[in-house]
Subunit: 439 residues, 2 copies
């Protein structure tokens, strides 16, 4: 791979989603979906750029931009081959190799979000150069190459590189069959667009009916602000989606451990598949307690959108704190840490249902789940990718849902390149959307 | 309390400590001790300012500065009484009350470091107005007031406000006696200045002898880079400090779980009191495994300098993952989260030996330990404050060590105000120290 990384541009892009209460939940009443957006350029003749973003919900997006700027010396001037020939080592250098920057985390918070945008832009660039969608680039790597992607530090008490290699080897001969299957049928999705917390009941009911008509069979409802409201809303959704529909509920970290157990137990008659983010994402042992209490009711525990790195995932998975792994493509340090988490989830037999929504997350995580099925877990049972019907129109290659399933992306790259006019209009604070107030 | 917060200044201050290998350890080879430094001004007649800092080790300090700037709207224009009449509610608003900013953590990484600087500046200001050192301001608060300081969210499965209140009530009548004792005798210290990883053996030996002569009886050595070196160095320190001396070792997160157990077991003949930071600070269950394996050897586990918040502390303490709590005054969101952690440590009977060194941490944490003895734990057994002999000359009221003990601070405030000329000379990148290259 020839060429040198010659430039890094960082954009602060924000969408005024708070104006419609789309995305509202028990902890996030008024998010403005935003992205710290990276564009990497090279001196190659093809003129291809790597695009990557990390997702935030508004204020503070500029702090992530500053975090990305701090990574500039690790990027600009590097030969592209330094990444493509040793993507694991390159990722590790970005995520924790500079001890002074590592101090700011380590591997969590603003710097981890910043690393995600950069790492994912590198992968987007590589995939575009190869002329492959990201999932295909990953699925064409050998087991040995996949093992090299992962920072194994702090993982070996749960999974060693050798064990991961053996597991990947077992699935390698049958990758092509699973790829063909997904190209034909797509990957199952669930919808979160039926039940944001700010929606009145009639809107929830209407959106359930619309989603059913569109082919969805799995539906997620935001809860956690008011118990009486929750009881009424889960019953409403259960009525609308029928006994065969799958219902998930999401409290966005609203509760303490005891309160979570009590509150969710009361919702058991509506048969939720999982309670998502019942409490603090830092509370591994709290999740264990909640999972044990709810297991007899048939309710699983899910979390992930605020899990920062593989070390926390290792514990959540090994201790059975979660029965669903909702890894996030930007919260962790990008593709490499995502691969580490898929390997851990497979090791412990926990299905991955990635966190999506926001801006660009649906575009991103489809690559994770498709790659997971082809090369890592080889399984679809209890798996579905979150889908939220916001902001896709800003992307050059938006995700495509048909019959409640993600269609396999075919364009080269990570599907994350935003349209130039969208980047311009939503630039904060200077873009037209923000200069003009209400759009 | 009259007055309004009228201005927030943020300074990027850095010290070129990497030039001497002071502060070098197995993960941090070349730190430049740095601070994102906050000055809060009011419209009060007394002209007092609140000073606060958060500690970093160089690159990326500017990202924390950006994080502090993001908090400006929550501070400037607020009446001072909003803080002094409800310091817990005010802290909670800064640390997690703005959902958009909370997304960047939550309560971890750059934003948590930024909140620490601001919260601690508020406490410094309040203490200066009251004419008391910070420890005294805290020790004069009633049990009910102390309970109000804490964000109880996510804690109640381990400790409730009522339980904390009862514990504080029990010690309240005897606070004055413990205060008198500390004013007379000081608070025990241990020294980390004998054994930075970059020091040659003869320098370690010489510094052990100097520390013994200065009255120290507890000594910490950095290890973790090379096993043969470590075996030689722990034996050397044990010889120098004698059988009665207390030895601690610190690996700065260098190992995986299995490796930590094996490596530290080999050091058992030198009888270390604790192994500090054996592995990732995120690996609660890993610390549990290490603690269980080393307990039969009489070696405890310590960690804390990279523990971000009370939720992680709750788990480390409740699960006996640590036998020493090394809370950090800046890594968490400042005084309030420190009080939460002291209450949790007391609940589980774990001694607190705060993380210090860096720049300003010794000045800060003496207030935590003194307050802990007077009002929270009432105990000194197995407790000592870390001491590192760097950079104290830059503070207006530096900590004072005599006979291996911290002398109780008497000046008003949090002891963290830096000399104006130091702030100016070390401003990055424009200050004289940095403009002139090697100082």
């Amino acid at each position: 791979m020839n060429g040198t990384l010659t430039a890094l541009r960082v954009l602060d892009v924000r969408f005024p989603t708070s104006r419609e209460l789309d995305g509202s939940d028990a902890m996030n009443a008024d998010p403005d979906y935003s992205a710290a957006y990276v564009i990497l350029a090279t001196d190659r003749d093809d003129g291809l750029e790597g695009h990557g973003l990390t997702f935030t919900i508004g204020r503070g997006n500029e702090v992530v931009v500053a975090g990305i700027e701090a990574l500039r010396p690790l990027l600009v001037g590097q030969p592209l081959a330094a990444f493509t020939e040793a993507p694991g080592a390159f990722h590790r250098q970005l995520a924790s190799g500079d001890a002074q920057l590592r101090w700011l985390g380590p591997e969590k918070g603003v710097m981890q979000l910043a690393v995600a945008a950069v790492v994912n832009a590198l992968w987007d660039l590589w995939a575009k150069i190869e002329g492959k969608p990201l999932w295909k680039l990953l699925s064409d790597l050998s087991p040995a190459q996949l093992v090299e992607l992962v920072d194994w530090r702090y993982l070996t008490d749960a999974l060693t590189p050798e064990e991961a290699r053996r597991s990947l080897d077992r699935l390698a001969p049958t990758r092509a069959a699973r790829e063909g299957e997904l190209r034909e049928l797509g990957y199952p999705a669930y919808t979160t667009s039926v039940g944001w917390l700010g929606y009145p009941d009639e809107k929830v009911a209407r959106r359930c009916r619309e989603a059913l008509a569109a082919g969805f069979s799995r539906f997620k409802l935001k809860i956690g602000a008011n118990r009486a409201d929750d009881l009424r809303r889960v019953a409403l959704v259960r009525r609308e989606i029928g006994e065969a529909g799958v219902l998930m509920v999401d409290a966005n970290q609203r509760w303490d451990v005891g309160q979570a157990i009590e509150w969710v137990s009361a919702l058991a008659p509506a048969r939720p598949l999982w309670i998502e983010e019942p409490t603090s994402p830092d509370d591994i042992l709290g999740h264990v307690a909640i999972a044990r209490a709810l297991a007899p009711l048939g309710i699983g525990v899910a979390t992930g959108e605020m899990i920062s790195n593989r070390v926390v995932w290792k514990q959540l998975l090994a201790s059975r704190a979660v029965s669903f792994c909702q890894l996030d493509f930007c919260r962790m340090s990008g593709v490499n840490e995502m691969v580490a988490t898929l390997l851990l989830a497979s090791r412990f037999g926990v299905p991955v249902c990635p966190h999506a929504g926001g801006v660009g997350l649906c575009e991103y995580v489809q690559h994770a789940s498709i790659f997971d099925y082809i090369a890592v877990s080889g399984a679809l049972e209890n798996r579905a990718i979150e889908y939220v019907d916001h902001l896709h129109e800003h992307f050059v290659d938006p995700c495509v849902i048909r019959g409640g399933r993600y269609q396999v992306p075919t364009a080269a790259g990570a599907s994350i390149t935003m349209k130039a006019e969208s980047l311009q209009a939503h630039a904060f604070p200077g873009g037209a959307i923000w200069r003009n107030g209400r759009s």
